[in-house]
Symmetry: C2
């Protein structure tokens, strides 16, 4: 649905003319007409073809005016000496006309000169820029920034998918570093937010309505308290449109993904009795993992694999098969895949490498063609396979994994997949799924999102990716899914060096700022590092959703309180401050006179367990407090496990009374605090030894999600 | 030594006059004279006292001019309507004069009006700001930033201690976000770096020469390719100088600190036989920790404590005592401290709380007076004590600690101290010392720096602090020490919320940006979080110092390569790129054809140990490579411990051949990688499981140090 209805006929006519003339950009007057058609304010102007005319027209507009060459062959007008600003009277206009024509001829002798544009000069106001561009992965994007050096030097610009809503536009105005400038600085008046939102919405709708507009720049726009006028319009067109990427409809995706992830029968193409072979490992994992469906080994020679009857081809299997796991060399994949297609198998798990990642693009394209032809979805190639614990399904050559939980993870790279498995096992993090996506010839992050969206076994989705083949599709799905379940993304290749390295999976990463803005727009929580993705995957699902923004720190160590406060700011958490008098007094009742209420509530170091219990109970009881961060200090009076057990008890006691709030803990002490942290974590309180930042990062992520899903007051 | 010699007499005369008149700021003409005396360029100007005179003087300078009210009673001239810019001719100058006088009288009827300043108007150029200020902890600071919104909205400003050297000044020009603007944008010419360095050096010298100048602002300065002219000068003075903080000379500090940290005899004031008492824990730790010097329990009642003869007072002990550890309630501390003073004990370790942190400021000041009177240094109060492992000395009530190593850690807070102990023990991080500083009534971070500087047992110094009582002293010492040994600082209270929380030790944190800039200027590596301080403390000392900037990633997992590349950028490391052809070819010889040389060197996943060994050997052998980052991918072909042993072997083999380079590793795999990481770490290769960022942070810190210590080419 369009956010704004422009005059499409008018724009269509202009673009048709440009196309007919074989041009790839619009002249300034054409640009103005396009803006007019979409209600984007531009200065009064007209084109003249004589010096005298210039004087007359300028006079009718009011001075000063700016005069610019109009030529389809001169795109960089300033460079060509084709722009004269501050023309103050009719005489100057005449001279300026002659000068501009002379400069243009000198710059490019054969340039076709339409005339000279005379334009009302906009004075005052704050310079901003609104633009639009076309990204390979995300398609049409709209950009906003402050004019001049702030964009050029500080790259202070923000992007959203086009078309953008008014809310998107508002978030752009607030989303630049220099946002404060829009509120008026040095005694200036604030600019009209409405007017700027208007421009953003209209520009974004324009490029969405006309995909052939590949670039658009309104630079500068003069914004004031009364409105916004674009002083210069640049529009570049590209009539060679890339064909849209094929996407099955969402219902079809879910139907296929359900068969793949929750199959009644799995075939292993290349199943083997020989230890060390991938086809052997996959068989072992399926069997030892406890998968209860049927397993059909496919092997051209052996009549039996690991005690199960083997078949020469999937086509020989009498029953229906949902998922086929491939463990054959690359050269055998295509023909076996065709057979899977004929067998109406829903998905092929393509473990084999030797495709896109080794330069075998054709081989991979062949698989894609077969997949499309037979409507069989492809996972990979070049992957470790996948785990789906609710089905006890380990369709992988890695070791079996059985700690069930509610986080679904995926990785583009096998190495990162192994790190996910290792961390999960080590931290006893329950997972619902771990999926390898590899070369992403077909199934990608948004297919997984669609499946996990409707999967009741999954509460949090965490994805490592190096690129998004179809960023727009991902963003659209993620925006919906993230309202229901936290979506955490580790986008590798953030930096130019990283992006260059990402070529190992053929990934081509765009500007990271675009990823950053669009992921945020989609409600995605972006992880900064591998370990952070893992820690958030572990912690976010076990925390209850907060009901409001008021965070209170209760700490035995004042020093932890300081670092926890810093971490709150770093992670966008709001300390409940000032604490209401009655609450402050209530906390004070429990702590020594030299302790500090306020926030952090500093109960001081030498206190017995009851002081922690009393203050935490109060924090959980009082409805004005929405989350607690605990800072524990190891002492003889309150040993680590005593603290941990007391905290779990009081949190459970209050939960039974309907007081459910997120609680995290930072433990400072000798090595015994590690056991206490593990105990706390396993009982619903994400807790870390020797770290004041990790527990707050986890809590911050939960808040970020709750906020973007609209669950916080 | 002064970086610039100004005309001090001239400035002295002006300031004397200001002082005599009881003013707290200089008039514009006075400001100009001060600038003249220090060779800071200001526009031509003069003060007139009639409208006619204004026209004549302005004409002699050349138009346009700017005219400003001169009145000791009007500081905010613009607000008072006392500034008119762009005066274009003599007539306008006459009118402007009258207007300004009228406005000034309206603004403040009784304002003393000296006249109107007529000033040459500086056109064009880039607007910058140079200023100076006085900070409670750091003293005189010089500031630099771009003019206008960049400073006002984006707070893009950088600070250095005054006086600043030309090198400091250069680092300031490069140290702002908008540094590129100085190089010329939009086709503009670069500004003269020399001229700006000049202004910074001169301003910083001026405020250092005249401490009574509390604030100085040159705003704006118009910088061009030819020079820099300050268009406006504002100077605020404060003749009430705070007395300088007492500091014993460095030799005396070291003498005392050596006696304290390496004592021949230790007294425990309040030693006790009663388990659970602090005086009992301290005794146990001294004895069980293996301290070989003499231990004198001080106890008014018991004749023996833990089998050692006890004394009623330190004065009763027949021998010399170096260190006295206090384990008595606050109210008994002062009298016992006096006795320690009379006994000529070098230092008192004041474990007791109940002083500054509970509001008992007087009690703490009394201790400080006694300390100064008797020349006894005070550690604390309100601390856990300290460990110095080379002396097997555990002068603390916490558990004994005995893993010897070369990192000396300290913390302002007890909780953080406990986290240091726990982490150290858990990670088997060897330490030379762990010191609690608490309320820092006397001994502080720079005293520790001075001791550890000359302590051969210490290679790296890591300090947690919430404030620096004397930031300038710290910065000066750190600048020297950090050239020899890495100094890592975790400054808590970075944020406003954190700073507010820091009041628990009476800490008053200043602007974090000042800390950040000054710590960097001093060569300090700033840790972002508690865990990072601990990880850097563990990793930095075991890494050899790199000889150059060329970092190479060798990875089995392409996905790790991408994340490791991102981490390199995040941590200021330079990937050796493009790899020279011969080196690239040499790497290629060892890896499969579908692997990637370049950088990361992607050896691909399924390779045997020899591929890791061959590529790492090449990386260590070739002198063009200065550091290696390894990305390991867990496979059956190269299990984790096989990888780890092979890596340690090849690194040691090459070390024996004189090829010593820093190597770090990221391990992706199942839980067995944890054992491998520990093995690697213990053998000189900082390695982390499930993390691509931590090993690179450690390597980045080593490089940062080597760079600032001038050890890198």
């Amino acid at each position: 649905m369009a956010n704004f209805q422009g005059d499409k006929q008018k724009v269509r006519a202009i673009l048709d003319a440009v196309k007919k003339e074989g041009r790839d950009s619009l002249t300034a007057p054409e640009g103005k007409l396009v803006c007019d058609a979409y209600g984007i304010n531009v200065p009064k102007e007209g084109v003249v073809s004589s010096a005298k005319e210039a004087g007359t027209l300028a006079g009718s507009m009011g001075f000063p005016v700016v005069m610019k060459i109009v030529s389809p062959d001169i795109l960089h007008k300033t460079e060509a000496g084709g722009v004269i600003v501050g023309v103050k009277n009719a005489d100057e206009a005449v001279t300026a006309y002659e000068q501009i024509i002379a400069n243009a001829k000198k710059y490019k002798a054969d340039a076709r000169i339409v005339g000279v544009q005379v334009q009302q000069m906009i004075k005052g106001g704050t310079e901003v820029i609104v633009g639009a561009m076309t990204d390979d992965s995300f398609g049409k994007l709209v950009a906003f920034g402050m004019g001049g050096v702030l964009v050029e030097v500080l790259k202070d610009v923000t992007f959203r998918l086009a078309p953008a809503t008014r809310e998107d536009a508002a978030s752009m105005l607030d989303g630049i570093q220099a946002a404060e400038m829009l509120k008026g600085v040095r005694g200036g008046k604030p600019v009209s937010r409405e007017a700027l939102q208007d421009v953003i919405v209209r520009v974004s709708q324009l490029v969405s309505d006309f995909p052939e507009i590949s670039e658009l720049d309104l630079n500068p726009i003069f914004a004031s308290e009364n409105g916004a006028i674009a002083a210069d319009v640049r529009i570049v067109v590209n009539f060679d449109q890339k064909p849209a990427r094929f996407r099955p409809d969402e219902k079809a995706v879910v139907t296929s993904m359900k068969r793949i992830m929750q199959p009644k029968a799995v075939a292993v193409v290349g199943a083997s009795n020989e230890a060390g072979k991938i086809g052997n490992s996959v068989m072992k994992n399926l069997i030892n993992g406890g998968y209860k469906g049927k397993i059909y080994p496919i092997n051209p020679k052996d009549p039996e694999v690991m005690g199960l009857k083997a078949y020469k081809s999937v086509k020989d299997v009498p029953d229906e098969i949902d998922t086929a796991v491939f463990a054959v060399p690359a050269k055998f994949v295509a023909s076996a895949l065709k057979e899977c297609g004929e067998k109406k198998i829903a998905g092929a798990i393509l473990i084999p490498s030797g495709f896109g990642e080794t330069g075998n693009i054709e081989g991979q394209e062949e698989l894609q063609r077969i997949g499309r032809e037979y409507n069989i979805r492809l996972m990979g190639p070049n992957i470790y396979g996948f785990y789906y614990t609710p089905s006890n399904l380990c369709a992988t050559f890695c070791t079996a994994y059985d700690v069930k939980g509610s986080t679904a993870l995926s990785s583009q790279s096998g190495g990162i997949g192994m790190a996910i498995i290792g961390f999960s096992r080590s931290a006893k993090m329950g997972v619902s799924a771990i999926v390898g996506l590899g070369n992403k010839s077909d199934i990608d992050e948004d297919d997984l999102l669609l499946f996990f969206e409707q999967d009741d076994n999954t509460k949090v989705i965490a994805q490592h990716c190096e690129d998004l083949k179809d960023g727009r599709a991902f963003a659209e799905v993620a925006k919906r899914v993230s309202k229901k379940k936290p979506v955490i993304v580790l986008k590798a290749g953030r930096t130019a060096m990283g992006a260059a390295a990402a070529s190992h999976t053929g990934a081509v990463a765009g500007t990271d700022k675009i990823y950053d803005d669009v992921l945020r727009q989609s409600g995605v929580i972006r992880a900064n590092s591998l370990r952070q993705m893992l820690e958030l995957s572990r912690g976010v699902p076990i925390l209850p959703t907060p009901k409001g923004e008021n965070v209170v720190i209760i700490t035995g160590a004042g020093g932890s309180g300081v670092l926890l406060s810093d971490a709150c700011v770093d992670n966008g958490l709001k300390l409940f401050k000032p604490m209401p008098d009655d609450l402050d007094a209530a906390f004070r009742k429990f702590i020594p006179p030299f302790g500090a209420a306020g926030n952090p509530v500093d109960i001081t170091g030498g206190e017995p367990p009851i002081t922690y219990v009393n203050t935490v109970r109060l924090g959980l009881e009082d409805d004005r407090i929405h989350a607690l961060i605990l800072g524990y200090w190891h002492t003889i009076v309150t040993p680590p496990m005593v603290f941990a057990r007391n905290m779990v008890e009081i949190v459970n006691e209050m939960k039974a009374k309907g007081k459910t709030k997120p609680v995290v803990a930072s433990l400072a002490g000798d090595v015994e605090v590690e056991e206490a942290a593990q105990y706390l974590y396993e009982n619903g309180i994400p807790a870390y030894a020797y770290s004041t930042e990790l527990p707050v990062e986890v809590l911050g992520a939960k808040f970020k999600w709750a906020r973007s899903a609209g669950l916080l007051k």
